[in-house]
Symmetry: C2
Subunit: 298 residues, 2 copies
């Protein structure tokens, strides 16, 4: 590997900063080529996310839910890819599900999804990460506001902003069960955080993040500029697609209604991982995959 | 004081239980006498809460907000009535505000509110508790599901269910800023909790409650029977009135929008406090007042 210039320094200064994004949001040379309409592409570029209601039908959903339960039941206590809630022993997430489940492997390679992502990121992509977030009723704690890219850059060595995430709602996203919240337009800014990354940060950051967290003043600024917060109430089977740098989070879930979702990160094969820009050793494969082979649609 | 029979035992067994309420919800001999329509009274009896949108106008609201800020600014570190968030030093609640503020004293004795409460509880009432819940943006953590009556009975010696709470929204109750959630019909059941009450429980229960918390199975049962959860999105100045035994709570507030409210508990003068039924010493005056003089409308 050749040493790369750090285009997005973070966790280096004693003050947070906000700077303009240096990469395009839509990387395609011909963004009209693909399943998304020009209007959708333009909206994604402007707001940083898109919602596809009822992307999956009931039978596909039932299969994904069954597989979710199977992974829960088979979760091994010693498995580092099984993450528990910060205040209890309840499973919060299981990572690397596309390599642990043939069903999720196929879902991640769903031709409709791959085509959308390739249209936006301009060519072949690979899976950087996959996971089930269980977000169970009563126990599911919040995910505080964050840009995924900040972490992937600092802790995983993702050089540029050329990745996107997909969250598939396995149950209804209701206003009351801690739905995904996004700040429209936030992806156009890079928020550098304060604090130094400890070694093996992932061992607790996946339960509750405390470094790589944006400051409140900047969050208020982004919310004001983006004209608020989007918290789409999306029925089960819906798909939410968002840019790697869109500021997002979710509140805890105190209701009996689970808000489980399948979460997949797609990264361009032209943006593969280098050494982490924060200087720590790379995170394990289950959270930041280094198999850069392009996904083959299933 | 004569020893009273414990009509609602809790925190005594090793298993939770759910039993029918032994008291009426509407105590008036002539419930038609008062400001509430028969329809409203009937709905309160059935669902356990009522919402009055925009009960206060903008100028009244501005005064209450100003007083809220004044109490925040003047909060004394040594004052036990100032409660802080469980994970930070940020103020969560200031108690006993009707005795610390002439403005809140008048608000608590608002003739319209007193008339409504007297109609439902059948005669004169006094203030059992008052507080500002700040529920600030980013910092405001959840209030887990609970029946207030359970705590007031066990820890304060409130004999029967003849009390009601009023929450006045000082800012908008949005779907995303941790609005009050209630379980319709839950007030018709008494949920006995497990666990023993430690001495000086209030010193941490007001930050985060861990004893006097209903079990999850019972909560699911109540939600199912009550046909869901109500989370009314109410604009600033709205008033939510609920029975002392209505199961309620609120999620954390991760948004920049505060969800501050003025919270007042009215108890019938025919239901004054005895020794705590849990056997602990009474909680301090700031959380459970023992001035049983009827409120005089301001």
């Amino acid at each position: 590997m050749t040493a790369l210039i750090d285009a997005y320094p973070s966790r280096q200064g004693s003050r947070p900063s906000i700077t303009p994004r240096k990469d395009p949001v839509v990387h395609a040379t011909d963004p009209g080529r693909g399943p998304l309409s020009a209007d959708k592409v333009e909206r994604y570029a402007r707001e940083g996310f898109l919602i596809f209601e009822r992307f999956l039908d009931a039978s596909a959903l039932a299969v994904l839910r069954g597989e979710m339960d199977r992974l829960w039941d088979n979760a091994d206590r010693a498995d580092p890819a099984v993450i528990r809630e910060p205040e209890s022993d309840v499973i919060r997430s299981v990572f690397d599900v596309h390599r642990r489940s043939r069903i999720y492997d196929r879902m991640v390679r769903d031709p409709r999804i791959v085509a959308i992502i390739e249209q936006l990121l301009g060519g072949p992509v690979y899976a950087h990460q996959s996971r089930i977030n269980y977000k169970r009723g009563f126990d599911g704690k919040e995910f505080f506001w964050h840009s995924d890219f900040e972490t992937w850059h600092v802790e995983d060595g993702m050089p540029r902003m050329r990745a996107a995430s997909v969250s598939i709602a396995l149950f209804d996203n209701l206003p009351i069960n801690g739905p995904l919240m996004l700040i429209p337009g936030s992806h156009l800014h890079y928020v550098a955080c304060i604090g130094e990354t400890p070694e093996d940060h992932f061992k607790y950051s996946l339960r509750r993040q405390e470094v790589g967290v944006p400051d409140i003043e900047t969050l208020c600024h982004l919310v004001k500029e983006g004209d608020g917060i989007a918290a789409p109430a999306a029925p089960a089977g819906s798909l939410i697609l968002f840019d790697c740098n869109t500021m997002h989070g979710s509140s805890g879930n105190m209701t009996p209604y689970p808000r489980s979702n399948l979460f997949v990160v797609y990264n361009s094969v032209k943006n593969t991982l280098d050494a982490p820009f924060g200087g720590t050793k790379p995170r394990p494969e289950f959270v930041a995959g280094r198999d850069f082979n392009p996904l083959v649609p299933a």
